[in-house]
Point group: C2
Chain length 307, copies 2
């Protein structure tokens, strides 16, 4: 489970930061890559990574501002050219389907794969084999959402010593015991799995929030997650400006992280007004409140597997 | 009068070539930049040039394929953020207005300046103070157009020696003589401008064609121009493929340049299948027929002023 930041700027692309997108690379876990937002030039950034567009099978759009979606149709087209043949599910606010379809039809684009649109609402909930997805509506002047991605707990290891102590020798029977709640042995004994498994390993939980102001309102939604990825468009020195334009400051988000007891915070969607040493100051501002904070940069990778 | 290539690839962006766009930089002549096509990432390419987005006041779209327009709305938005306040005229096929407006309205984008859409047809003709613009429909499976931009002739220089010979001394009267067909001197003499002007200097003419097959059909349209910019997606080794997908080969376009007696040819929209030495081979293929041929590359600048 890896995060790769594809664009960490706000509003406008600069030479340092592209507009919003990040990849949750689940290739090792389930062979998939999930994308969050897709600003213009996201497919160009992907060329600089090892991500294969055909592996992208879910795209979560936080909101319909151009800096978060203007690269979506280009990416979908390129995925088609590059042998993408499997379903893509696009989660996003109401309007995302019209946006994509209007675009595809006017440009005469035919994709080699189907798209399923899932228009989300506050508290929408989805479940896959290995993950649950929870949605929270934020406060950005137009519909903007946060996504909480929770990996399901992994069952504990089979405790071989206990099985051997019962005279059960290694073989296909071990797999059966692991996969079924109860297993009857050839000699008639009935084994209960729970007696032979170590503790389940909790899954990772990450929260990716779209643009918003008043982040303190979302403490319940992000509570106790392993990684919170949140916009911090502005320093708290510009708090009035941030509020006016429905954005958050580094201070506000650090307070959220502390209050919600998250394990790690990464700030992104950084305004182009902060460059060089001002980025360090933004980090200082947040770290003074919540130490385990990082300011994202384009192509930053964060490996969550062994966190 | 300068040309700057912003994207010279076909279909998909690669690390070497972005998708289609080029700028006709008329900053020195009329303070404007005119853009031809606007594939995804065009605004990112502009960051690597000295072009100021607010100076872009005409955008010519050759056709509505995504690799030619997916960067348009992003560019328009950024121009607004970057203090662009003056009118932008967008020339393009029928549908361009719906495309842009659908995009702007679904993303809630408000621009700080007005847009005028001019949906072109075969043989459309427009005139500005310094230029004429002629349009030709091409052959690309969907409506695709070529634009011929003709700079109007510049009046000749005032021949000072002739004026002095008539006893007319330098002063504001010189400007009057230059600006009016006839000028009456204080002493009653009537001067005719033509008698005192050198030869008019013909303007430059450039043709920018969109994607097409059968380029020989457009010899009349591009005849005798100073610079022809034309797609050559494929080598003639792949001519069947080119025809099937409504594209041209380097050989076909070189034949067009020769037949139409153009002064210089630049090939662009090069398929990603040609890399490194294959690009040299593509150039050889065209130059064997029409020597003054160049293969464009991203950020190539061509100065036409002193051609
Ligand atoms: Zn944004
Ligand atoms: Zn094209």
């Amino acid at each position: 489970m890896k995060i790769e930041f594809l664009g960490t700027g706000a509003g406008l692309p600069t030479k340092q930061r592209n507009v919003s997108s990040l990849a949750l690379d689940l290739t090792a876990e389930i062979g998939s890559v999930w994308l969050f937002d897709c600003g213009e030039g996201t497919q160009h950034q992907i060329l600089r990574t090892t991500i294969k567009p055909r592996r992208i099978d879910k795209i979560f759009i936080t909101h319909l501002h151009g800096d978060h979606i203007n690269g979506l149709v280009g990416l979908l087209s390129s995925r088609s050219f590059q042998n993408g043949e499997s379903l893509v599910q696009i989660y996003g606010p109401s309007g995302i389907k019209t946006y994509v379809n209007c675009h595809l039809s006017l440009t005469g684009t035919k994709l080699a794969y189907p798209i399923q649109f899932i228009e989300v609402e506050d508290q929408s909930y989805y479940e896959t084999k290995h993950f649950t997805i929870t949605v929270k509506e934020l406060e950005h002047g137009l519909a903007s959402f946060g996504y909480r991605i929770s990996e399901k707990a992994k069952p504990g290891q089979l405790q071989v010593d206990k099985l051997l102590a019962q005279g059960i020798k290694p073989g296909p029977i071990y797999q059966q015991i692991k996969e079924n709640e109860q297993t009857q042995l050839p000699d008639g004994r009935l084994l209960t799995r729970a007696d032979f498994l170590g503790a389940a390993k909790p899954g990772k939980e990450i929260c990716v929030l779209g643009d918003t102001r008043h982040p303190h309102k979302f403490a319940g939604f992000v509570s106790d997650c392993d990684l919170l990825i949140h916009e911090a468009t502005f320093s708290h020195l510009d708090v009035a400006h941030a509020h006016q334009f429905y954005h958050s400051t580094a201070t506000e988000v650090a307070l959220l992280a502390k209050q919600a007891n998250v394990k790690q915070l990464i700030l992104t969607h950084i305004s182009a007004r902060y460059q060089g040493d001002q980025i360090n100051k933004l980090a200082d501002e947040a770290q003074a409140i919540f130490a385990n904070t990082l300011i994202a940069e384009d192509l930053l990778q964060v490996d969550l597997t062994n966190h």
